[in-house]
């Protein structure tokens, strides 16, 4: 079930427990800085690529630039 997380400590805890981390920003921004171990799935391609590249049985954390 999708849920919004605002506390980065929760995000860290999920990462420590093996969550998949996905960044949806453009390639250039991903290449400059991304969370450790993050997978790049830009928004325009997310529907096509998500099923192929992600494990649907493991937690997935998706992030953007900010919450706006």
């Amino acid at each position: 079930m999708p849920q919004q997380i605002h506390d980065r400590r929760e995000v860290q805890a999920l990462i420590d427990r093996g969550a998949q981390v996905v960044e949806v920003l453009p390639r250039e921004e991903f290449d400059e800085d991304h969370l450790p171990g993050a997978i790049h799935l830009p928004l325009p391609a997310i529907e096509d690529d998500a099923r192929r590249r992600l494990d649907a049985h493991a937690p997935i954390v998706v992030y953007c630039w900010d919450s706006a």
Binding site: H6, F30, L35, W65, D66, S67
Partner: protein, 149 residues
């Protein structure tokens, strides 16, 4: 988490090309003296000088920055409470700001030093202008060398 910006602003580790370049937090001095608003200038002055510094950051128990004492404040006569002497609410910068941006800003605004804080205002360290400028020069010299090859 409120996005990658929140993660960066907290000074948490990242991967990527920027992660290899020096940023504000890379060079911020963690050993900067700190004091509380209720302390007296006289005692703080002695402590700061004994530590070999000419600046002190005013923080609370959670290391949230309240103010800054630079050389001018520390040199004042008397023993007033820090709260009356300090520069309140100084401009602070996030840990992920690239060092060349910091150097340009500090030179342009004639800032001898700047507190680097996390997104919730907690002190990470004090960045000195000379450290920022030196690192920016090294960075650009290195990049020029790579471009020339």
């Amino acid at each position: 988490m409120d996005g990658k910006l929140d993660w960066l602003a907290a000074g948490l580790p990242t991967e990527g090309t920027n992660a290899e370049r020096p940023r504000a937090a890379t060079l911020a001095r963690r050993d900067v003296p700190t004091c509380r608003v209720e302390e007296s200038l006289g005692r703080v002055r002695v402590r700061v000088r004994d530590a070999g510094w000419d600046a002190c950051v005013v923080v609370n128990d959670e290391r949230v920055v309240f103010g800054l004492l630079r050389a001018a404040e520390l040199e004042r006569d008397g023993d007033e409470p820090i709260e009356r002497v300090m520069r309140p609410g100084p401009s602070t910068f996030r840990p992920h700001v690239p060092i060349d941006e910091m150097a340009a800003f500090m030179v342009g605004h004639d800032l001898p030093n700047s507190p680097i804080t996390s997104s919730d205002g907690r002190l990470i360290g004090l960045l000195r202008r000379e450290d920022a400028v030196h690192a920016a020069h090294e960075l650009h010299a290195g990049e020029l060398e790579r471009d020339e090859r």
